[in-house]
Symmetry: C2
Subunit: 342 residues, 2 copies
């Protein structure tokens, strides 16, 4: 026997949803006769109250969901700490859901959350996400959502981002100043907004310095580390003197590929990566990184979400914020020593 929801129950009773809800909660506003009618129908039709709908229960779930692609990335593990620092104060649990960069997973998770299992959602979209109906549908169901880092531009809600375009421009200019003029950009997705903005920043810096961008200078990596190792080895065979990796997990395959091909960092090729890796400074050579304000971004995103949960009429759409990243210069982009002519 299938269960029916409160809307269907109200329809069959020819009552409003609100009246049915009040009757089920034994409100003094509802007559005893109506209460009995509602309960009888509820039993007959196998109505089971939506367990999560906070408005019906009179209390909130005290949970927020965090929907992110993965945790094997220091940006997300630091952002989680920022989010939890706020949630803890509010006595909320954070439920973490991983999409593993797959749109279908993201859709299924949001469908699950739509039922009201959580009071609000913090989200960073998967690489594959192009459609946004799943997000719209969640918000239409009255569940506030705040994007951080990877956002859907067309959804009208708060977006906490960093200055991907500007910092990529700065990072590329740093390589140019260190003597590079054949710089390869390692991207991971044609659809992901943040890595594409990084690519645009790189393009801008090249153009500003009259460096021609060849088609081969944009290289696409994949999810598997073994695959990326081969892709990077192929890219290195084009003899770049600089490489920018748009995501953290390209670091290990890049260092391994250089070691295999006997290419020296930074003498033969300078390398920098968008990364929050704590161990960047103990790599050999130490790694120049674009470091995002991960903890801060998580904290601000969570703070806004709780404002939306606490205040009626708080307009999340007016609350977007960009927090700047930093370029941390280390040995992997050190300038080559000029050998004086004999």
């Amino acid at each position: 026997m299938t269960n029916i929801n409160i809307r269907e129950l109200a329809r069959q009773l020819k009552l409003s949803v609100s009246t049915v809800s009040k009757a089920l909660h034994d409100s003094h506003e509802i007559s005893d006769e109506t209460k009995k009618r509602v309960l009888a129908s509820a039993a007959r039709l196998n109505y089971i109250p939506n367990p999560y709908a906070s408005s019906l229960r009179g209390r909130r779930s005290k949970n927020i969901a965090l929907v992110i692609p993965e945790v094997a990335d220091s940006f997300f593990s630091l952002a989680i700490n920022g989010i939890e620092s706020v949630a803890k104060e509010k006595e909320y649990h954070v439920l973490i859901y991983l999409t593993h960069e797959i749109y279908r997973n993201e859709e299924a998770i949001l469908a699950e959350l739509r039922a009201g299992r959580v009071d609000g959602v913090l989200m960073s979209v998967s690489r594959e996400t192009v459609q946004t109906d799943h997000v719209k549908s969640l918000i239409e169901n009255g569940i506030p959502l705040v994007f951080f880092d990877r956002v859907c531009e067309e959804i009208d809600t708060a977006r906490i981002t960093t200055n991907d375009f500007a910092i990529a421009c700065t990072a590329t200019e740093h390589l140019i100043k260190q003597g590079c003029d054949k710089i390869i950009f390692l991207n991971v997705s044609r659809t992901l907004s943040i890595t594409n903005r990084r690519f645009e920043g790189y393009k801008k810096a090249l153009a500003d310095h009259n460096i021609v961008l060849n088609e081969e200078d944009l290289v696409f990596c994949r999810t598997g580390a073994d695959e990326n190792y081969e892709i990077i080895k192929n890219a290195l065979r084009m003899n770049p003197d600089g490489v920018i990796a748009s995501v953290e997990n390209l670091t290990a395959p890049f260092y391994k590929a250089c070691s295999e091909l006997k290419i020296k960092i930074p003498e033969d090729v300078k390398f920098l990566c968008f990364s929050n890796l704590e161990i960047a400074s103990i790599l050999h050579p130490s790694l120049t990184t674009v470091t995002q304000p991960a903890f801060e971004m998580g904290k601000v995103a969570a703070t806004l979400l709780f404002k939306a949960l606490e205040k009626t009429n708080f307009d999340l759409a007016k609350e977007s914020l960009e927090i700047p990243s930093s370029l941390l210069i280390r040995d992997s982009t050190a300038a080559n020593k000029i050998i004086p002519p004999v």
Copy 2:
């Protein structure tokens, strides 16, 4: 008005819980009169069905919870992938809850889960966990739980562990063979079963080789990385020729401390770490690790949990398993070259 649960409702009606449940679900086994009585009392006493109790709803939540200390550790991020590989096949969501190594958090999370929000729980306990009432109470509420990696010995359920004692013994013997006889063990907790078993393995190897263990050779680190950097610098001032770190996040402070004190790895001190870091091989020097079968442990734990969910009478207590770790020898424990006498 507070809500009552089905047990209290049954008590007040002087009926069994099962009868009340069947009445609420309009079972043909129950008379119309009893159904009416149950519904009337349910309404009067503000009974709201436990939204999560799968046995009452006739369907499951299709969620399992994963309760772990943190995600900024490659063991856990790999274990998550193992768990999700199984959950996906079963069309379940995995809700990840982080305790941040704090017992109070773990207690609050399990209290939340006890209500039946999920069908089952996979768990690795916090550093602080000594008491186990919160776990017992969860299991008594009919929610199956499987431990992996960090377990409570006294709880009668499946425990998926690795051979911490034996592999620590092997790792310590490796250092001894490489010429070390003053080996420091960096621990993080006096209560955590896995690091203590690692310490016992280390002690065994020292004893087997007639090496005296001094009190100062066991050093306790903390949670903050900055603090550990200072603790490790102090430990290095005792001039050990070998150091074993019991957890992954001691790697970065160890390398930094050596660099600061101009101590060379492996010439002055050999170092190995319990770690699943992908970048161990690109550190300078590359890091010798004890690598746990993280993905496999997660996968096996999840497989057992689903067996318990699918089969009545499946006895989790009989299903514990130990999956061995591996010692991956790299440059950080290389033997010193013997300089021939002049």
